[in-house]
């Protein structure tokens, strides 16, 4: 039986494919930063919660880091909306088909995220009251989020294999099919989880930096602890990343290696990661900028992998386009205004000297 490749809907794209792909990759990078901090953060917090049973520094560390987690969870979800929107627009037919094959698992993401998110709140709000039990709460959140990551990598990998959809559909029970792309998706999951741990290491290092006025000792301890996670994660990532590259289907890897631009990006990403690793103990800024570069470049490479995998079956650049430019312009203007508003709110929140709080207001 010839493979059935799902067809896109007969409605023109509202903008050229290159612009939608750019927005897909750009907003995905934003989502990735928050998601890495969340996923890696709950893993690091789990370890620290365990160590905190005997070590008061770990207890103080988890108490402080936990305060940041609910808002990071909120931004992970919200920043994830945009890339998923553009993914559905450009690759919808493939994404819907791969989602339908694993429908029940895919739907479970909603409930796993909900539970994990409430877990993060619970951990933060009841950190001291929970005592040693706090470990179980944050560990549960970590396990839930790793499952979410697994289902995501599964679906994002599966949608790149439309040639297998029909066979799976004929043979399996639609809605419960998971084993499409093992072991590739397991390696991909490892790649993402290790990246999350490394980035969250850097994230807690940055957070510790904010504690220096209150407790310089804890800030310094937190910095060294975070950098250890970052460096450890990055070193492991060199191995996992290579393993992932060599697990890709031969034709995809050949397409990547044959493209000078991709090779250039990969090599630059590697050099930047090396720079980030080496500069981490000395300069937080240099390390952060370098790793931001690595993440952005890897997101671009990821897009090349997607295009190369799908090339035999689907090219979004061949789709008809009917630009909705006037609405696009409104979007851009509102995006800038929205970011400006958020920037202003963050400024007034963090500016020093706001001592008289609204809750203690008294006109007298």
């Amino acid at each position: 039986m010839n493979p059935v490749i799902p067809a896109p809907v007969p409605v023109p794209l509202p903008a050229p494919a290159w612009l939608l792909e750019f927005l897909l990759v750009f907003t995905f990078i934003l989502h990735l930063l928050a998601m890495d901090f969340l996923l890696g953060g709950v893993i690091i917090l789990s370890v620290s919660s365990y160590l905190g049973r005997r070590d008061s520094r770990h207890r103080e560390f988890t108490r402080r880091v936990s305060r940041a987690m609910p808002s990071i969870a909120a931004f992970t979800i919200t920043l994830g909306v945009a890339p998923l929107l553009f993914l559905q627009l450009v690759y919808g037919q493939l994404f819907y088909a791969s989602s339908a094959l694993m429908a029940w698992y895919w739907l479970a993401v909603v409930f796993l995220v909900l539970l994990g998110y409430y877990g993060v709140y619970w951990y933060q709000m009841q950190h001291d009251e929970l005592g040693p039990k706090a470990l179980w709460v944050i560990l549960a959140a970590a396990v839930l989020f790793i499952h979410v990551a697994f289902i995501f990598t599964q679906n994002m990998t599966a949608m790149l294999h439309p040639q297998d959809f029909y066979d799976l559909f004929v043979r399996g029970q639609v809605g419960t099919i998971l084993g499409l792309v093992a072991p590739l998706n397991i390696i991909r999951l490892a790649h993402f989880v290790v990246a999350a741990i490394a980035l969250a290491g850097l994230g807690v290092t940055l957070l510790s930096h904010c504690w220096r006025t209150e407790s310089s000792e804890l800030a310094e301890w937190g910095r060294r602890y975070g950098v250890t996670w970052f460096m450890g994660g990055t070193v492991v990532q060199f191995l996992v990343g290579l393993w992932f590259l060599f697990s890709l289907p031969v034709e995809v890897r050949q397409a990547l290696v044959g493209d000078k631009l991709v090779v250039g990006i990969l090599v630059s990403a590697f050099i930047l990661a090396l720079l980030a690793l080496l500069s981490a103990p000395k300069s937080l800024t240099a390390s952060s900028v370098a790793i931001l570069g690595t993440i952005s470049m890897m997101a671009v490479v990821r897009h090349f992998v997607r295009s190369a995998s799908l090339r035999p079956y689907f090219d979004p650049h061949s789709l008809p386009v009917q630009g909705q430019w006037e609405v696009f312009c409104i979007f851009v203007v509102l995006l800038l205004a929205g970011l400006g508003t958020v920037g202003w709110m963050l400024y007034v929140f963090f500016r020093p000297g706001a001592t008289r709080g609204a809750s203690t207001y008294s006109p007298s």
Partner: protein, 445 residues
């Protein structure tokens, strides 16, 4: 067992109940905070602070995740319609996303800012939250109304014609009123937990006013909204489909109950107001939301995007082609592309999955086995031929005659009819038995 529609329904109703609170509560917080400042009432301010924590836990977590859940479920159940909507409205959704980011940042800064921001700035952040939340409603409301009243878009196919559809404005007024009413419902819940009796009475009465104000706007705006609906949608809600009519009546009845309970309860006698009463009101309000959303979805039948796509993802423009080609030939996800004439009911199963399974399950929600119980094959076939005429809320059967008959054979096989028994006098029965035996014998070589 759970049909796709049921999964969407459960997630969507809970999301509607929380997301309208996300907007209405966003108005409630700064207005009540301002009231506390103006009246120099620190106890009320303390209440607003605790309400903001409840608000964050309900809205930012459940509201956001259930909203994503709707996306998840519609993409799984109705990918064609979802993809169409995203093609038409992607920039609308992108704009809504910008408002979400502002909304979430503002909510956190409002919540964490009680002790860090001065009152004026804190209030301003509250207003920014409300502005962004209402703007996100403004965007999504146009998209939701579009599905029922796509208006000029069917010909024009532009964003403006799709967004500014006939139902958009009245629906916006109805939803804004619902937001105000739900702000009252949730405030009643938190007010019932206030320890100080005087404050509890004051806040309960104040929250009841919000609920009553919101509900008082709904009838007029609702009539306006209904006036923009397609004729068939109005008929379905007013008698053509009994289940829908019953639910429409139930929606009005439950709303009246909510008003009565609120007026005679926390509004007139706040002293007797309790947590149990608050939850009773909230569950009544949730039921009202549930049945009303169900009716709104039901009157759109047989379409998912009115006049453009049927509930089973069949485009109106494709009907003639599919009738000629056959539904199995034009569908991708089928195991057989031709009817197996030796076992038509097996192919009928495939036709059912492609054409009916987006609304029906075999034995669970909207069970097809139950729907055709007691029907003969001839009756089933007659129904299939005239499906959209006999049942206005169902799309026509689209496919070749052979496919229709295969579907009929499968449907008939779901409830095997009992064998016909001829009742005869005992003597003649014995006679016929001996005749049968003789016949059997005669047939043997």
């Amino acid at each position: 067992m759970l049909g796709g529609g049921m999964v969407i329904g459960i997630i969507a109703i809970l999301h509607v109940f929380v997301s309208h609170f996300a907007v209405g509560g966003g108005l409630f917080l700064p207005l009540t905070e301002r009231k506390a400042y103006r009246e120099n009432n620190p106890a009320l301010l303390e209440y607003v602070k605790s309400h903001s924590e409840f608000f964050v836990l309900v809205v930012l977590v459940f509201g956001a995740v259930s909203g994503v859940g709707i996306w998840w479920s519609i993409g799984l159940v109705n990918p064609e319609a979802t993809a169409t909507l995203i093609h038409v409205f992607v920039w609308g959704w992108a704009i809504e996303w910008v408002f979400f980011i502002v909304e979430i940042a503002a909510a956190f800064i409002y919540y964490y800012g009680w002790d860090r921001l001065d009152p004026k700035t804190h209030l301003l952040v509250g207003w920014i939250y409300f502005g962004a939340a209402w703007a996100s409603l403004l965007v999504i409301n146009g998209i939701l109304a579009f599905m029922l009243t796509p208006g000029r878009w069917i010909e024009a196919q532009t964003f403006v014609s799709a967004y500014f559809n006939p139902g958009m404005l009245p629906s916006l007024v109805v939803r804004t009123a619902v937001c105000i009413a739900l702000a009252g419902v949730y405030a009643l819940i938190t007010s019932s937990a206030v320890g100080d009796v005087a404050l509890r009475n004051e806040v309960a009465r104040y929250a009841a006013k919000w609920l009553l104000l919101g509900v008082s706007i709904i009838p007029l705006a609702g009539v306006w909204y209904i006036s923009t609906l397609p004729g068939m949608a109005r008929e379905i809600s007013m008698g053509a489909a009994p289940a829908v009519t019953i639910f429409a009546g139930l929606s009005i009845f439950l709303s009246a109950l909510v008003v009565a309970f609120t007026y005679f309860g926390p509004y007139q006698r706040p002293r007797y107001f309790s947590i149990a009463f608050a939850f009773l009101l909230a569950s009544l309000a949730l039921s009202t939301t549930g049945v009303t959303e169900w009716v709104r979805e039901a009157v759109r039948k047989p379409y998912i995007i009115y006049d453009y796509m049927y509930t089973n993802s069949m485009r109106v423009a494709d009907v003639d082609r599919v009738r000629e080609e056959g539904v199995l030939k034009s569908a991708r996800w089928v195991r057989q592309h031709d009817v197996d004439l030796n076992a038509p009911e097996r192919t009928g199963d495939e036709v059912f999955r492609v054409e009916c399974a987006s609304c029906h399950t075999v034995d669970g929600y909207n069970s097809i086995r139950y729907a055709v119980k007691g029907w003969s094959w001839a009756m089933i076939d007659y129904q299939l031929v005239h499906l959209n005429e006999l049942k206005g809320f169902m799309p026509p059967f689209v496919g070749t005659e052979v496919e229709r008959k295969a579907l009929g054979a499968w449907l008939a096989s779901l409830n095997p009819l009992p064998a016909t028994i001829a009742i005869e006098p005992e003597a003649s029965a014995a006679e016929s038995q001996s005749k049968e035996a003789a016949g059997e014998g005669a047939r043997q070589p």
